[in-house]
Amino acid sequence: MKGWPVARPDTMSRESSADGPRDSRRDLVVVPGEDLGESEGHEAGHGVLVVDGRLKSTKQGRMNTKGSTVTVEPLHTTYMPRPGDLVIGHIEGCTNNIWFIDIGAPFNSILPMSLGPAKVEFGGTRKVLDIGDSILCRVQEVEETHQSVVTMKGLGLRKIKSGALDDVDPHLLGRLIGKGGKFLKDLKHESECRIVVAENGRLWIDGELEGILKVRNKLKELSHDARQIGGVN
């Protein structure tokens, strides 16, 4: 009897499944320089360039098509600051009236004395925040030259004095938080820790050591799974 072929793991492929043919532009791992097809009728999104009427990948990652926009979701990213982002920064240096903050971006941020955590006298910056300290702050503005200014004036913005810091790639935050914040909520509940997730991929985990370890292991697992595309002989 002839009919529809039964979908078995060996007959299923990337191109087709039991539901019929898949969109061939979905979920493909691509590498820099790879041709992604005709650009006509498509828009180049993140990680994609148009060269001579063809779409070209500029990053290693998974290709996605949403509507007419083709994007490459990279397997590794660098944080790019945007105004309003909550970030965790480390003090890298200071002058008499400015702190230099490493927020994990390609360019350091500055925290002017006027936006600091407390009233500071000129020349007294190190008494308030010293080199090596970590802070929870917010990106105030990003200039055209990519230089950014952060502020500590705001609710909950403070110097981090307890717990532990860890980080994941910024593009994995969506996966870490989960739909409607479910994954993060479960993680907080399970570890009994207070977890603050900053947009630059850094996390502040505060609680008992056992809980902190639990969270860190989970983060390690998440990063490992996301990068699981191995090598070749």
Partner: protein, 238 residues
Amino acid sequence: MGGYGDVQMIDENGLRMDGRKPGDVRPITIETGVVPVADGSCRMIWGTNEVIVAVYGPMEAHPRKIQRQDRAVLDVAYNMAPFSTTDRIRPGFNRRSREISKVTADALESVVLLELYPRSKIRIGIEIVSAEAGTRCVGLTAASVALADAGIPMTDLVVSVASGKINDVVVCDLNKEEDNYGEADLPMGVLPNTGELVFLQMDGDLSPDEFKQAWDYNMDAAMEVHKLMVEALKGGGN
């Protein structure tokens, strides 16, 4: 590289000392993510060459005098481990490693979208663990895989291969003896998707016909190596 006419490196059947035909490339293994703390990394084993490359960044460029207001800078450091050859190599930079670091940076600058990260720096460390011949080619190829692994935006990967001349025969991918006693060496860096050339050096003499043959060998080998690089980066993800 004056040529040693009395050293027979290719037999009457056209087979080389290691059993390869003139156009054959040595076996290659590529692995990514081998340095967990780095943003991107690659281990490439090419014959008996072994290279580990780690990429960090983009990060703030220090010292400030190296910053470019309109783009990032590539800080490439090629280094041969003291134990990488039979003769111990004195640790630290030397004239050769500076030259190779510079030509590698120049070749990679043509593919990395540096203008996206003004005033920053991308640090690339190339460590030669075991050296046979053609380490600059292996270093450059591995560096482009590591950059892709680090998520640095690039227009293409760079593949580098060297061909040369031994006993008046043009051969691809020279090994140590062929490199030492051969008559010429032509390393090239190629963009496999466009066929553009980003790196070319030549040591020794080649006639126009021999140059053409070496060029063709390099181009063919580059396409072969590119397939392996893509496979390593995709890692069966497709």
